[in-house]
């Protein structure tokens, strides 16, 4: 009991340490390495080498342009689509809404695999330009739904009376939008855009699948998985993190402070529109649905058929996915998602029940500041730094040095890959899980339970009948989404599961794809893995996708 209380009480500090230590390791890893005797030494070598390396500079520049472009385009398209979907009434709106956001649940790695398969049918040379265009496409397909979901939520919380008041004061529709709607939406949209910027800057999946080497994500993964290039990875990571945090701060500064919106979206109703407006809305949304899902459809096409001979290969698909190696990768992914969600959920529960003031829960949202790949890189660097530190103090304090060695061993992904990976993924899922638990905690059913008990129900039956149905969609949905997203996470899984036997879905797909003739099998595995977000969708409903994103913003 005392241990439980201690964990609860210090859960904020524990979470802060788990996030801060790897984050600090990235810049430290760039300026500290092991000397010839194995002890730590300060060095500018890696930073200087990276700074003078034109491929590194090119990767940073390319990723910066890519992230800025994707963030800006995602914002424009996302707001436009949100305007169509939230404010205009047109036939089939409710049906098309989930499809418009579906591509947000598909990792760019999978979408890029699908899009690269299309190249076989396109009579043009699949050169660098096309690869870059494909990368922008898959990044947008993943990023736009984030802005769209956030903006729809904001629009639904804007009181229609605010715009009416502006129009009554003499403003036209456009001016009313710019002076009332946009200033209120901008801070929340900026949060989504800032996250997209940071994630795209470090995105490894799309570039790896498309073979776009000149990106930060590609170079970091290449350096970490290469021989003795951790210093270079750390230097790239440090510069990338500086860019990500600066860009994020700049975007949030541009967004400005958040203002309280209307307490509920009850008064919000999509408005009737003219025939032309309706046609534009339908074409816009349908166009987006088609464009965003083309890569996924192509992936499915590659997995189940539509080859040059036109034969359906469903049997082959089943054969490929029931292969032992594929099943192992999928199983690892599922277990990983489950473990990360349980650990994250436990920490979230500790934070919520810590009994301390809300500032202690703040570290739970810190993981939203850092891209997953950077967190994974930090986790890779921690054991190396511990080892180097131990080498430095061996002579003065042998016991402490041995403890550091043991800790380094424990945190070494080669020795215990899952331990570190689960921890990193748990940190990434923590913000959404904490908000789900806080929402569930906020349900005050005491009166309803009392009534149920006064009508003859036992305490347990009353809970099952009254509170259970209200909690199930909140917690069930949040946990299902968390499992799916952790299982499909690309960056940390690539860096922290170096051994073949420990690989989960994303590295497994890349492993299979790199084998001769393995692209179809990899596609089949990726399509099977997409059952996870579909299952999460069924369990939690579409609003959990939105809730997850909203809560990440709000937290």
């Amino acid at each position: 009991m005392q241990v439980w209380q201690a964990i609860r009480g210090f859960s904020g500090l524990i979470v802060a340490a788990i996030i801060v230590v790897p984050m600090l390791s990235v810049p430290l890893g760039a300026i500290v390495d092991s000397g010839p005797d194995g002890s730590a030494r300060a060095t500018a070598f890696h930073v200087a080498l990276t700074a003078s390396d034109h491929t590194a500079r090119e990767a940073l520049g390319n990723s910066l342009i890519l992230a800025t472009g994707v963030a800006a385009l995602a914002m424009l398209i996302g707001i436009l689509l949100a305007g169509f979907l939230a404010n205009r009434r047109f036939p089939g709106r409710d049906i098309v809404l989930p499809f418009a956001g579906a591509s947000g649940a598909i990792p760019p790695l999978f979408a890029a695999m699908g899009l690269s398969s299309v190249s076989r049918f396109v009579p043009v040379e699949w050169d660098t330009t096309w690869r870059w265009l494909a990368l922008v496409w898959v990044e947008l397909a993943w990023a736009v739904p984030r802005v769209m979901a956030t903006t729809i939520l904001v629009f639904e919380q804007l009181s229609p009376a605010w715009q009416d008041a502006a129009r009554l004061a003499g403003a036209g529709r456009r001016r009313a939008w710019w002076s009332v709607v946009w200033p209120l939406a901008r801070p929340r949209v900026a949060q989504a855009v800032a996250e997209i910027f940071a994630l795209t800057l470090f995105e490894p999946g799309g570039p790896l699948a498309l073979g776009v080497r000149g990106t930060l994500g590609f170079r970091i993964v290449e350096a970490v998985l290469g021989i003795d290039q951790l210093g270079r990875a750390a230097a790239l990571g440090t510069i990338g993190l500086a860019l990500a945090l600066s860009g994020r701060s700049l975007i949030l500064w541009w967004g400005g402070p958040s203002w309280p919106l209307a307490s509920s979206g009850r008064s919000h109703r999509p408005q009737r529109t003219s025939l032309v407006g309706m046609a534009i809305s339908i074409c816009g949304v349908l166009g987006w649905v088609i464009v965003s899902l083309v890569p996924t459809i192509a992936l499915a096409g590659m997995a189940v058929g539509l080859d040059r001979s036109g034969h359906l290969t469903l049997d082959a698909f089943i054969g490929m996915t029931s292969d032992r190696q594929t099943l192992a990768f999928l199983g690892h992914g599922l277990l990983l998602g489950l473990a990360a969600t349980l650990f994250g959920g436990f920490l979230a529960l500790c934070l919520e029940r810590s009994g301390r003031d809300p500032s202690w829960r703040r570290p739970s949202s810190w993981s939203t500041f850092v891209p997953p790949l950077a967190l994974g890189l930090g986790a890779v660097l921690v054991p190396r730094l511990l080892d180097a530190t131990a080498g430095r103090i061996t002579s003065s304090n042998l016991g402490f040095a041995q403890a550091l060695h043991r800790a380094a061993n424990l945190l070494d992904p080669f020795v215990s890959p899952w331990f570190v990976l689960v921890t990193v993924l748990a940190m990434l899922r923590l913000p959404a899980l904490r908000v789900a638990i806080a929402t569930a905690d906020a349900i005050d059913d005491r009166d309803r339970l009392d009534v149920a008990r006064s009508l003859g129900a036992s305490g347990w039956t009353a809970w099952l009948d009254v509170t259970g149905p209200r909690l199930a969609p909140i917690l069930g949905g949040a946990f299902a989404w968390s499992i799916a997203q952790a299982a499909l996470e690309v960056g940390p899984a690539l860096l922290l599961s170096p051994t073949l036997s420990a690989r989960s879905i994303a590295p497994g797909v890349l492993t299979i794809a790199s084998e001769p003739g393995g692209s179809r099998k990899a596609a089949a595995m990726a399509v099977t893995a997409l059952l996870l977000p579909i299952a999460a969708w069924i369990v939690g409903g579409s609003h959990f996708f939105e809730r997850t994103h909203r809560t990440r913003r709000d937290s």
């Binding site: 129009r167 403003a171 009332v180």
Partner: protein, 364 residues
């Protein structure tokens, strides 16, 4: 000051008629209160008047000029919606000064005029605060200052005191009167609260299912309701189903009711003998006790129970034929009354209002 006329206004949302041929004429500088229950179409009517919705048919005229096709920003109307609609991202001064900014008025003049508007509403100390830090009363005052800064020809309020507690409602009613007196603006208030309507109106228009069913001074509408709906909307009333018996030269009609023959006055035309009518009697019109004024209606009743309401006491009576009757008596005059006691109840003919018949269900 302008005359506002709307004629046959109709608006349908998704096949549901919100405003159904509403017509009304508001005199220049008049304070017109449109009273109706929830769902009567008040907000829809307000939005039509201010131009936020276009009517399906009908017309709104300011001093005889039609507003058809004139966009909302082209009408000089101050509108205070039910929710105050203050923009959360703007300070009080920015909220109030927005109209001036849209008009392209310079910063210095804007600041001066906003200062004056805030001073007039006695909220100048709130200028730099954001709406979320204000009390509901302060928010209403800011919304009012924002509506008034453009010196509107017409001021429209939708449920102005609905968000306020009882004490602040009284204070804000005074504010409404003060603003109306100082600005002499034609004013339309929409409310579902009969007390607010009676307290604020020069004239009251009663709205039911999107139709204006009665227009008159507060005292006319309260004492001479057009039908049983208006009678009940304005306050508690005893309704009895009866049949007109005879009519005299003074316009008084004898009606046969479950509690006996009553002499009353019709709200409109005199019903011909044999016509079914509904009789409405306000509880406070019933006099309790043996002293019966001459020419008054009278009947015997038994006290079933009493409810003390502070200054008054509500008496639940059983009249002839066990018909339930509610009366209201001053506390001091009803102290000695006991449950089960029989007494004489009287009511003057002018307080017995004969309405067009709608089946008056026997109250339980």
């Amino acid at each position: 000051m302008i005359r506002v006329t709307f004629d046959g206004l109709t608006k349908t949302f998704d096949g549901v008629s919100a405003v159904d041929g509403a017509s009304l004429d508001v005199a220049p500088g008049e304070r017109m209160v449109i009273l109706g229950p929830s769902g009567a179409g008040k907000t829809a009517l307000a939005r039509l008047i201010v131009g936020l919705e276009e009517p399906d048919s009908g017309e709104i005229r300011f001093d005889g000029r039609s507003l058809s096709g004139l966009p909302v920003q082209g009408r000089k109307i101050g509108y205070v919606p039910r929710e105050d609609a203050l923009w959360p991202h703007r300070t009080v001064a920015e909220n109030v000064g927005y109209r001036l900014k849209v008009q392209g008025i310079g910063r210095r003049e804007r600041r001066m005029r906003v200062g004056e508007a805030l001073g007039a509403a006695r909220i100048d100390s709130l200028a730099d605060r954001h709406p979320d830090s204000l009390t509901p009363l302060q928010r209403q005052k800011v919304a009012l200052a924002r509506a008034l800064i453009g010196e509107p020809d017409l001021l429209v309020w939708d449920e102005p005191v609905a968000s306020l507690d009882a004490r602040h409602r009284i204070e804000f009613r005074d504010e409404i009167r003060r603003v109306h007196t100082e600005h002499e603006t034609t004013t339309i208030l929409l409310t579902s609260d009969p007390r607010e309507a009676l307290a604020l109106a020069d004239r009251v228009a009663v709205l039911d299912f999107g139709k204006i069913v009665q227009v008159g001074t507060p005292i006319e509408v309260y004492n001479r309701p057009a039908d049983s709906f208006v009678a009940q909307l304005l306050g508690p009333t005893n309704l009895l189903q009866g049949q007109a018996d005879s009519c005299d030269a003074r316009g008084e009609v004898v009606v046969r009711t479950p509690i006996g023959r009553l002499i009353g006055k019709p709200s409109g035309d005199s019903p011909s003998p044999g016509t079914p009518v509904t009789v409405a009697i306000r509880p406070e019109s019933l006099a309790i006790g043996p002293a019966v004024p001459p020419d008054s209606n009278r009947f015997l009743a038994t006290i079933e129970r009493q409810v003390l309401l502070g200054a008054t006491r509500q008496l639940f009576l059983r009249g002839p034929n066990e018909w339930p009757i509610t009366a209201l008596a001053l506390q001091a005059q009803s102290d000695g009354l006991r449950d089960g006691q029989s007494l004489t109840v009287s009511v003057a003919p002018e307080f017995v209002v004969l309405l067009p018949s709608k089946a008056a269900a026997r109250p339980s």
